[in-house]
């Protein structure tokens, strides 16, 4: 029983803790709430399957979220009727809201990007909120959450470039990257414009991924720090319960999770509109 006890509370190790030595994953020092996989890997230390699960915990949780969302959509559209039931109505509200939102930015021709951007919003939103379920971890936060956010940002980057090339052709794309030079002065400035545009295009996925990762990791670390505070507040009683001092920060985490998903989607939409705005009226 004490091994289970230690495997739950030890993953809350920080730099300042007494350093139990069980926990190999506290190398970055930032506190993290334990989830099912870290509890398993603490309860079976050294077992290959437990270490394998712990190594891939981001991917496992991302898969859980993706499968959960897919099942939700499957069950909502199984027998689609004209007078929808509750689940179908909820999903239709979400899809129509996203469609109007993205159509408002990209115009009526931009609605063909709604599947990608809407899925991005729902997926990131569910991933951010998933970490607030006890025993789960949000794949976008935590020590290795940068991998998930970089993957999402790279998807957006490649899709934006592909949409630009398909809309404007390869020469039109290069022309857009050079800043559409039309006069002699603009042609002279091309060696300045081209690297600036290229670096700007590369900076976009970097900022997207770092923003999402930093916000969600910051929220998780804040929650873990206040959980530790709550536990140490009643530590003199020697019982494994503490005060729930982290409750206001769960509401803050709900808010920032939603806002960061919205900002990611909105910025991706704006990148699409910036890439596709060149030859609209020609």
């Amino acid at each position: 029983m004490t091994r289970l006890f230690h495997s739950i509370w030890v993953p809350l190790a920080t730099v300042a803790s007494s350093g139990d030595g069980h926990e190999p994953a506290a190398s970055s020092g930032a506190p993290e709430l334990p989830n099912i996989i870290t509890i398993l890997s603490g309860y079976f230390p050294g077992q290959t399957w437990a270490q394998f699960l712990h190594h891939w915990e981001n991917v496992i949780y991302a898969f859980i979220v993706a499968i959960g969302l897919s099942l939700l959509c499957f069950f909502a559209t199984r027998r689609a009727t004209m007078l929808p039931g509750r689940l179908q109505n909820l999903l239709e509200m979400a899809v129509e809201g996203l469609d109007n939102f993205i159509g408002g930015i990209l115009g009526p021709h931009g609605r063909r990007f709604t599947p990608f951007l809407g899925t991005l919003f729902l997926y990131i939103w569910c991933m951010n909120l998933f970490g607030l379920i006890p025993g789960m971890m949000s794949p976008t936060g935590g020590k290795n959450g940068i991998n998930t956010t970089i993957a999402l940002a790279v998807c957006v980057f490649f899709y934006v470039q592909y949409a630009g090339i398909r809309h404007m052709g390869v020469w039109g794309y290069i022309d857009h990257m050079m800043g559409t030079p039309r006069s002699v002065i603009q042609w002279v400035l091309v060696p300045l414009n081209l690297p600036i545009h290229l670096i700007g295009e590369l900076a976009k996925p970097m900022s997207l991924s770092l923003r999402l990762f930093g916000n969600i990791t910051g929220e998780d670390v804040l929650l873990a720090a206040f959980v530790m505070l709550g536990i140490s507040a009643t530590a003199f009683l020697h019982v494994p319960v503490g005060l729930p001092l982290h409750l206001p920060f769960i509401f803050l985490a709900l808010l920032t999770g939603t806002i960061q998903a919205l900002v990611f989607t909105l910025l991706s939409t704006v990148y699409f509109s910036m890439m596709l705005s060149e030859h609209e009226g020609h």
Partner: protein
């Protein structure tokens, strides 16, 4: 003074400076949004959406400082 002391002294100061910057920027942005909402209450929805998005973008710079803090804090040991 070895690098651990220097990092431990400098990192919170760096983060606090970033927080000051974002505090000032967010204050200006939200103040402008509040004023615009006061002038035209029927556009309050769109203004609020724009304010939230602008706030997230301004906050992102402080988050970059926080990410740098996490990375460097792991190297103190």
């Amino acid at each position: 003074m070895d690098f651990r002391t220097a990092l431990s002294l400098a990192l919170p100061f760096g983060l606090a400076l970033a927080a000051i910057g974002s505090g000032i920027g967010l204050g200006k942005a939200v103040a402008a949004a509040m004023e615009a909402m006061g002038r035209q209450p029927e556009a309050a929805g769109k203004i609020q959406t724009g304010m939230i998005i602008g706030a997230a973008l301004i906050e992102a710079l402080t988050i970059y400082a926080l990410v740098a803090f996490f990375i460097l804090q792991g190297r103190i040991q």
